[in-house]
């Protein structure tokens, strides 16, 4: 059963190497004239003030968190979905209960206003 991974094990590194070769060709063929002004970060032409950091905005974290929860839920549901044709009806119902519990969580998040992008 390991044969199924061989193609993937070849395609992914090739997918990295081919563009890598292209970028390398670009680096070799292109001019290289560094100067201090070119080295400054781009901010629509004005000078940068302060270090590079981003104001903490909890909304990014919340979206990633809700995504983690729903991702894990979907991963639990995939074996259930694959075995679908071998399941009795009450088993399908149990899976639906699983989904509904998490839908209740989404509803809670909605009502609490957590999903708003401030």
């Amino acid at each position: 059963m390991h044969e199924q991974w061989i193609y993937v094990a070849f395609l992914l590194p090739i997918g990295v190497l081919l563009p890598g070769v292209a970028v390398l060709a670009g680096k070799i063929l292109g001019p290289r004239k560094p100067n201090p002004v070119k080295g400054t970060p781009y901010e629509c032409g004005i000078e940068t003030v302060g270090d590079t950091w981003v104001q903490f905005k909890v909304q990014y974290y919340i979206y990633a968190l809700i995504f983690v929860v729903f991702d894990v839920e979907a991963v639990f549901l995939f074996p259930w979905a694959v075995a679908y044709h071998q399941l009795a009806f009450y088993m399908v119902l149990e899976g639906v209960i699983f989904i509904l519990i998490l839908a209740a969580g989404l509803l809670y998040a909605w009502r609490k206003g957590v999903l708003e992008w401030m």
Partner: protein, 405 residues
């Protein structure tokens, strides 16, 4: 022999190479491995070369939709425009600002391209022609897409530019949000086919395509794949008026070119995935006997879906990030949950009670669609009446005219 060769070129080539390699003394397993390597190289090369054609076609078609000509100088109908662009990008200097994290900076575009090329390993191009028949094909597509998101995050971080970093965060927030309904909706073809293997999913679409059995799921998947790709109307990730150029602000020349290539190839790849999951892949009249026909059907379906996404791009304006995220979490995700639930229940009821699967599923989809439309209408009405009352209230309670005349 002649017809067989034309009817099944892939199988014929495969057979010839196998006999050649085993003739050289390699064992069966090693010959298969070498064949895999050759196939992978050919696939990756064909994909990356086909982006030349795809980018040109997209620019031409988009231009026609916008009532202008598009590239028409370089070659007949401007066909070699992308080649000219490539030559220009090759000759530009890759300007890296001070303080970038070099290794990550160069790795990021490569990861993004890899995440797109990697999806093609599991897509069945024709009967019997598939990179690998992974038993977990559907989840593999999701997994490889997740690596692309990481690439974007790394690009934004390594640029040492706070706007690139911010752009990367917004991009990943969008991608991650839209992945929720996408993964939920991917459960629907898995349920209908009883397997995550894309080849099995294509084979199970023999009486009818899944788009007829689960149209809402196809629609949701179409919308989320547009958002995952960063295409209009969800393209504020790299729009010129937003945050400079988002996460690829500090990328120039061919490093930027790689992000560009990955985006256009992703549109085509998304079309291929939709064609496989919902439109029956290589299925069509005569596809089993002549696999080359299957490949033609697959290509046609993919191009139609790609054209559809292009059409949407040329038609609708860009939406704001708060509108986009609200749409995802308040409309798409509940809709995806509802579609999943009703499909699971309806299909099982149809199987148990012996009803017509197609009609039961269509009926369930119709019910969900009607309920959703009713809910949206009620919401729109509530919003409108609220705005009305605010306006009227504003008129009544407006500040009085100044006392000093």
């Amino acid at each position: 022999m002649g017809w067989r060769m034309i009817g099944n070129p892939f199988g014929w080539i495969q057979q010839q190479l196998m006999t050649l390699l085993t003739g050289w003394g390699l064992s069966q397993a090693w010959a298969a491995a070498v064949l895999s390597l050759v196939g992978a190289v050919i696939l990756a090369t064909v994909l990356l070369v086909s982006t030349f054609f795809l980018i040109w076609a997209e620019r031409k078609l988009l231009a026609r939709m916008q009532d202008r000509l598009g590239p028409n100088r370089v070659g007949p109908w401007g066909v070699f425009q992308t080649v000219a662009d490539l030559v220009k990008l090759l000759g530009k200097e890759i300007v890296t600002p001070a303080g970038v994290d070099r290794f990550i900076y160069y790795l990021a575009p490569l990861l993004v391209v890899m995440s797109v090329v990697g999806i093609w390993a599991v897509i069945p191009l024709a009967p019997g022609v598939q990179g690998t028949a992974l038993d977990v094909g559907v989840l593999y597509v999701v997994a490889v897409g997740a690596i692309g998101e990481l690439g974007i995050l790394m690009a934004g971080y390594s640029s040492n530019n706070k706007y690139a970093l911010l752009g990367a965060f917004r991009a990943v927030a969008q991608l991650v949000s839209y992945e929720v309904p996408m993964v939920l909706v991917l459960l629907v073809p898995t349920i209908l086919a009883g397997s995550m293997n894309l080849e099995v999913i294509v084979q199970q679409q023999s009486p009818m395509w899944f788009v007829l059995v689960a149209p809402l799921a196809c629609l949701i998947f179409l919308i989320t794949s547009l958002a995952e790709n960063g295409r209009a109307p969800f393209d504020l990730l790299e729009a010129e008026s937003e945050l400079v150029a988002g996460f690829n602000t500090e990328y120039s020349a061919l490093a930027f070119g790689m992000f560009y290539v990955a985006e256009f190839l992703h549109a085509f790849t998304a079309g291929a995935v939709i064609a496989t999951l919902f439109l029956g892949g290589w299925r069509g009249p005569g596809a089993e006997t002549y696999p080359i026909l299957g490949f033609v059907y697959f290509l046609a379906k993919t191009l139609v879906m790609w054209f559809l996404s292009l059409w949407v791009r040329g038609t609708v304006p860009r939406i704001r990030i708060d509108q986009m995220l609200a749409f995802n979490w308040k409309v798409l995700t509940p809709l995806a949950l509802a579609v999943l639930t009703t499909t699971a229940l309806a299909d099982k009821l149809a199987l148990e009670l012996g009803g017509n699967r197609l009609l039961t599923n269509l009926g369930a989809n119709l019910v969900v669609a009607l309920v959703t439309l009713a809910a949206l209408r009620a919401y729109a009405r509530a919003q409108r009446s609220k705005e009305e009352s605010q306006r009227i209230g504003g008129l009544v309670t407006a500040a009085p005219v100044s006392r000093h005349h």
